[in-house]
Amino acid sequence: MAHQISGAVVLAHGIGGRRDLPLPFSYVLVGGALAVLVSFAALLWLWPTSRLRGAAGGRALPHWATSMIDAPETRWALRLLGLALTGFVATAALFGKNDDLNPTASFVYVLFWVGLVPASLLLGPVWRLLNPLRTLHLGFYALLGRRPQDGFLPLPPRLGYWPAAASLLAFTWLELAAPNRDSTTTLITWFGAYALVHLGSAVAYGSRWFDRGDGFEAYSTLAAHLAPIGRRTDGRLTLRNPLDGLDQLPAAPGLVATVAVLFGSTAFDGASASTTWVVHAQSGPLSPDTANALGLLATVVFVGLSFTAVLRLSGRITGVTVPDGRDTLPARFAHSLVPIAVGYVIAHYFSYLVFNGQQAFILASDPLGTGENLFGTATRHADYTLVSVTVIALVQVFGVVIGHILGTVAAHDRAVRLLPRGAAVLGQLPLLVLMVGYTLGGLLLLFSS
C-alpha cells in the first residue's frame, strides 16, 4: 500500500493542496492556434447579419415535459431539497466539531460553488429553486399575505447586477483570501451575514431582488444561458442552441462587473498557486491573506476595466449610436464573456470537483464528528486516480477553447446587429484581440507551474 497512515486518524483534510500538472505545450499550441484561427475566421467569414434569435430560437419540448418540469410538485420538491441540504450543512457547521473532518467546507467550496456550474449548464438555473433564502422569503411573504414579487419598495433598475457582483466578490474573497476560510466559525459568520443582507433586501424589494441581487442565483442563471434547455417568451420550455440562450442575456448595469468577478477570481486562483506568488506573499511586507485579497481585487478590476475600455474604443471608432447611450455598449457585449469565463472555470475546477468532491461525500457520513457512518462512506479514501492526467488536460483545453469559440460567435452576432454595416469588422477588432488575449492568458496560466 502506498499510503502510510500516520496515527489512528486518516487525514482527509484540507480543501485543495493539490493542483493539476501544467498543460502539455502541444495542447497550449493547438488550443491557442485554434482560438486565434476561429476568431479571425468568424470576423471575416461568419454571417454578415445577425442570425441568433434569442428567446425565439429552439424547438419546444412536448407539453407533458414542460408541465412536468413546471409542476408545483416538482418546484416544491426542489425547494425542499434546497432547504434540506442547507439544513444538513448548517447542522454540521453549528453543531459539529470545527476540525478538518467537518464536511461544511467541502460542501460549500466544492459541491456548491463548483458544482453549481455543471448543474446549471445541464439543467438550467437550478439555484433559483434550490436557494433556501428564496424559499424562506416565500414563506415569510405568505404569512404576510403577499405574493413573493410584491415588495414594499420598487427595485431600482440602475441597481442591476451590482449587488450580485459585490456578493460574488465577497465570496471569492472568502474562498481565496480570508483567514481561517475552512473554519466552521468563519463559514457560519459569512453565510449568516449573507443571509441577513439578502433576505432583508428581498423583504424590502420583493423576490425580484434575488434575480440579480443574489450572487449565487446570478451565477447559476448566467451559466444556465448556455444550457441546452431554455424558456421561450411564451413560457414553453425548449431545446435550444446555447448561443440563442446566451443571446437572451439582457444588458444590465453591473453585468460586466459580475462576469469580471467570475473570470478574474478564477484566473487569480490559478496565478496565485505558483511558488513564485507563494514566496512573494509569504515573505513580502503584507500578510499572505492581505496580499491575496489585493491580488484578487486587482485581477477582477483589470478584467472589468479592460473589457469596458475595449468596448468604449469600439464605440468610438465606429461612431455607433446605441439606445441608452454608448456607455451601455460594454453591458451589451458582456454576454460574450460568459462562455469564456465558464470555460475557464471548468478548466480550472474540473479535477478539484472530481477529487475534492469525493472528500465531501466521505466526510458527510460523520457530520458531527461523533463516529457515525450515515451514508456508509466514512471509511473510504478519495481516489485520486479516478480521472487520468490526460483526461484532465483534455477537459481543460477543450473547456477553454470551446468557451472562446462560443464567446467569439456571440460577440460577432451582437456586433453585426449593433454596429453600422461598414464599420462592423473594424468595430469588432478590439474585442476580438481582447478575447484572444484572455484565452491565451488562460492557456498560459494552465501551462505554467
Binding site: G17, R18, W45, P288
Partner: protein, 128 residues
C-alpha cells in the same frame, strides 16, 4: 457563410484528433532536475529548514517522477505539523528536531507541503 459553423466543427474535430495523438506521448519534455527515473533507485531527498518564519530553501516546485520515493525532512524552530496534501501525510515536529515524511510518489499532480500552525507553504511536489 453557411459553411462556417461546419468549418468550425471540423477544425475542433481535427484539433481533438491532434490532441489525442499527442496524448499518447503526453509527457512534456524538460521536467528534469536531480531525480532518478527508475523506481528502484534511491529516494529523492528534500530538506527544508524554517527559522523565525523564514523558509530555506525558498518554496519552489520539485520535479518528481511518478513512482519515485521521496524523503522530505523539515526542521523548524517552532512546534508544528507538516502536511503533504493529496498523499495526506502529516507529522508533528518539535523545535530543532527534524521530522521526516517518506512517501512513494504514485499520484500524479502538484502537491503542496505546508506547516499548519505557522500557516506557511514550504514547497510543492510536481509528480509526473
Amino acid at each position: 457563410m453557411r459553411n462556417t459553423p461546419a468549418g468550425i466543427a471540423t477544425a475542433v474535430a481535427l484539433a481533438a484528433l491532434a490532441l489525442t495523438g499527442c496524448a499518447s506521448g503526453a509527457t512534456s519534455p524538460g521536467s528534469g532536475s536531480a531525480t532518478s527515473s527508475a523506481s528502484g533507485a534511491p529516494a529523492t531527498r528534500i530538506e527544508v529548514t524554517v527559522s523565525h518564519g523564514r523558509i530555506s530553501p525558498k518554496p519552489s516546485l520539485h520535479h518528481i517522477h511518478l513512482g519515485d520515493r521521496v524523503q522530505l525532512t523539515v526542521t523548524s524552530d517552532q512546534p508544528d505539523e507538516v502536511h503533504l496534501h493529496g498523499y495526506d501525510q502529516e507529522i508533528a515536529i518539535q523545535p530543532g528536531k527534524p521530522g521526516t515524511i517518506n512517501v512513494t510518489a504514485d499520484l500524479p499532480g502538484i502537491f503542496e507541503v505546508e506547516l499548519h500552525k505557522s500557516d506557511l507553504q514550504l514547497l510543492q511536489l510536481e509528480v509526473k
